[in-house]
Assembly symmetry: D3
Homo-oligomer: 134 residues x 6
C-alpha cells in the first residue's frame, strides 16, 4: 500500500485522482487504467478525474465508509465481479478489516438476496487468498 | 428514538430483533411490521428475526457502517424507494450525519449511474424535510 | 373471468393470443392493449401474438405454474409494479390461491432480498383489496 | 436424491433446514455450505436456517412450485449463474421435468428479455449434460 | 429549445456542460440542477461537468445517437422513470422523431422484456402529451 | 458480411427474420440458433420470428440506431456478456464504426455507472481483437 498523501489538497483533478486511485486500488487500479490505453484512453482519464479526483477526494465521508458503501453496492448489483474484487482489496487497503468486509457482504443477503451475498463472499475469498499468496 | 439496550446480548432472536428494529428504523419499522399483519404475519416475524435478530445484531461491523452499506445498496439497486427512505432515516437514527448520507448517495453515481444517485438524493431530501417538519 | 376455450388449438396466433390474454389477465389485459392504441398499435399486436399466442399457449407447463413463475420474476426484478399487479390478478384468475401468491412472493426474500418481497406483498395486498371491493 | 423425510415436522430450524437443503439441492447444496466454512461459517448456518428451515419448510406452496419460482427469478435477474444451476438441478430433484424447466426459462424471454432466457437455457443445457454424464 | 452553440469548442468544462445540458434537456435539465441546490450543490456541478461537459461534448457520436442510446438504456434498466422522461424529451429536442423514440423503446422488449417496454411507452405517451399541451 | 437483401419486404416472418439475423449477427447469430437445437428448438424459431422477423424488420428506425440502442442497453444491464459481444459485432456489421461503439459504451458510465462501462469496453476490446485476428 502506498503511503498516504493528503490528496484532498492537490489542486489538479487528474493528479489528485491518480494519487487517490493508487491509495485505494493500488496496482489493480493502475492495471484498469493501463487496460484502457488502446481502446478508450480518454475514459481512463475520466475514471481518474471524476470518481477519484472529484468524488473520492471529498471530505464529509471517510475512505473506509466509502469503500464499505462500494463493496455493498457492487455485491447487491451482482453484475460487476471484477470491480467488486478490486474494491474488496481497496477496502482492505484503506483499513477496513476482513471481518468488516465479510459482514458488509453478508448484510446484502437481506437487501439483495442470498445469491448476491454468496457470490460476494466467493469474491472476498478469492481476494483474501490472493493477498495471502502475494 | 428509543434508548439503546445492548441488543446483542438478548438471547431470543425475536426479542433481540424487535429491539434492533426499533433502534434502527424507529416508527417506520413498526409500521412495516404492522402493514404485514393481515397479509403475511409470518413474514413480519421473519423480518424481525433474520435481518434484525441475526444480521444487525452481529458484532464485527458497527451499526453506522451497516446503515451506510444499506443506503448505498438501495440507492444503487434503485428499485426499492420506500425501503431506501426507511434506511436513510435509520442511518440518521444510528448516528450517521446528513452530510454522510448525501456523500454515500453521491458516491453511487460512480457505481450505478447518475439517475440512481439523483433518485437517492430526492429520497434523502424527502426524509430530511419530513424530519425537520416532524 | 372469461370461460376457458381450448386456446392452444386456435390456429391463428393473434386469435389464440387474444383468447389467452383474456383468460389470464382479464380486463386488465384488455386495458393494456387499449392503452397502446394511439402510441404503438403494432406493439399491442406483438404483445398478443408473442407472449400470449406463442408462449402462454404452449403445452409443457400448466398456466398456474406459468403465473407463479411470472409473479416470482416480477417481484424479484422489482421494477415493474403495474405488470406485477396484473399478473398477481392473472395468477388468481387461473386458479393460484391467495396463499400461494403470498408464498411465492415471500420466497423472493431469499433470492432478491426483503425489500423486493415487501414491495411484492404490498402489490398483492392492493390486488386482493381491489378484488374484494369489486 | 435423498429419501424424503417429512421435514416440515422437524421442530429445530437448523435440522429441518439441513434436511430440506439436502432434499432440494443435494450435493450441490452441501458444497455451498462447505465452501463457506472458512470465510463465513455463520452465513452457512443462516442459509440453512432461514431459506431452508423457514421458507422452504412452509406449507402453502408445494416444492415443485417453489423451485419453478426460483428458476424463473434467477433467470430473470441474470446475475447469479451458479445459483441458477443449483436450482435447475434442485427443480429436477423435486420432480419438475426437464420440459417444465425449459418452459419456465423460455417464459422469461417475455418478462426479462431474450438474453436472460438464452443464458438460462445455456445453464439448463449444462445441468442436463452433467446429469446425463453423472 | 435553445439555439445550438458549438459546445465542443467551449474550453471550460462547466460552461460547455451547461450549454450542452440546456441544448439537450432544456428546462427539465435546469430544474434538475435547481432541485439539487439545497441538498447537494456540488453534485449539480458534477452533473454539468462530467456527463454534459465531458461525455456529451465529445465528437465521435452524434447527439441523436447518444439520446437513442440513453432512452434505450433507461427503458431497459426500468428503475429511473423521471430521468427516462427527461431523456425522451431530450431526444426530441436534438432531432429524434417520435416514431424513432417509440421504435427504440419497442426494441427493448427483446432485450429487457415486455414490462420494461410497456413502462417505457407509458413514459413516452406522457412526454408526448405534455409537449402537445405545452 | 452477407450481402443485404431488402429484408423488410419478405412476407414470411421466419424467412424475413432469418435474413435479418444473418445480416446483423452473421455467424454468431447462426451459432446461437444452432445451440438451441437440442434443448429448445421452438425458442430458436421465436428468436428468429419475433426479434428479427418482427422488430428488426420494422421501418421507422435505421439498423445502425437499433444496434446502438442494443449495445447501450446490454452494457447498462451488465448481465448478458455473450449477447453484448454478439451485438457489438452486429453493430459493426451494419455500419456502426468502432469509435461509435466505444462512445456508446462510454456514455453508459453516466447512466449505469463506471463498472458497467468498463465491462462493456472490455467486451468491445475482445470483439475488436477477434475481428482483427479473423
Amino acid at each position: 500500500m502506498t503511503p498516504m498523501t493528503p490528496t484532498t489538497q492537490i489542486p489538479d483533478r487528474y493528479e489528485r485522482g491518480l494519487a487517490r486511485l493508487r491509495e485505494i486500488d493500488g496496482e489493480a487500479g493502475e492495471q484498469v487504467v493501463a487496460g484502457l490505453a488502446d481502446i478508450a484512453p480518454d475514459f481512463a482519464r475520466y475514471l481518474i478525474e471524476f470518481p477519484f479526483g472529484d468524488i473520492y477526494s471529498r471530505p464529509g465521508l471517510d475512505l473506509r465508509s466509502r469503500e464499505i458503501a462500494v463493496v455493498a453496492a457492487l455485491t447487491a448489483l451482482g453484475n460487476a465481479a471484477p470491480q467488486l474484487k478490486v474494491h474488496i482489496q481497496g477496502a482492505l487497503n484503506v483499513g477496513v478489516t476482513r471481518e468488516e468486509v465479510v459482514e458488509t457482504i453478508m448484510q446484502m443477503a437481506v437487501y439483495a438476496g442470498f445469491p448476491a451475498a454468496l457470490n460476494g463472499l466467493a469474491a472476498a475469498k478469492d481476494v483474501f487468498a490472493r493477498e495471502a499468496a502475494g
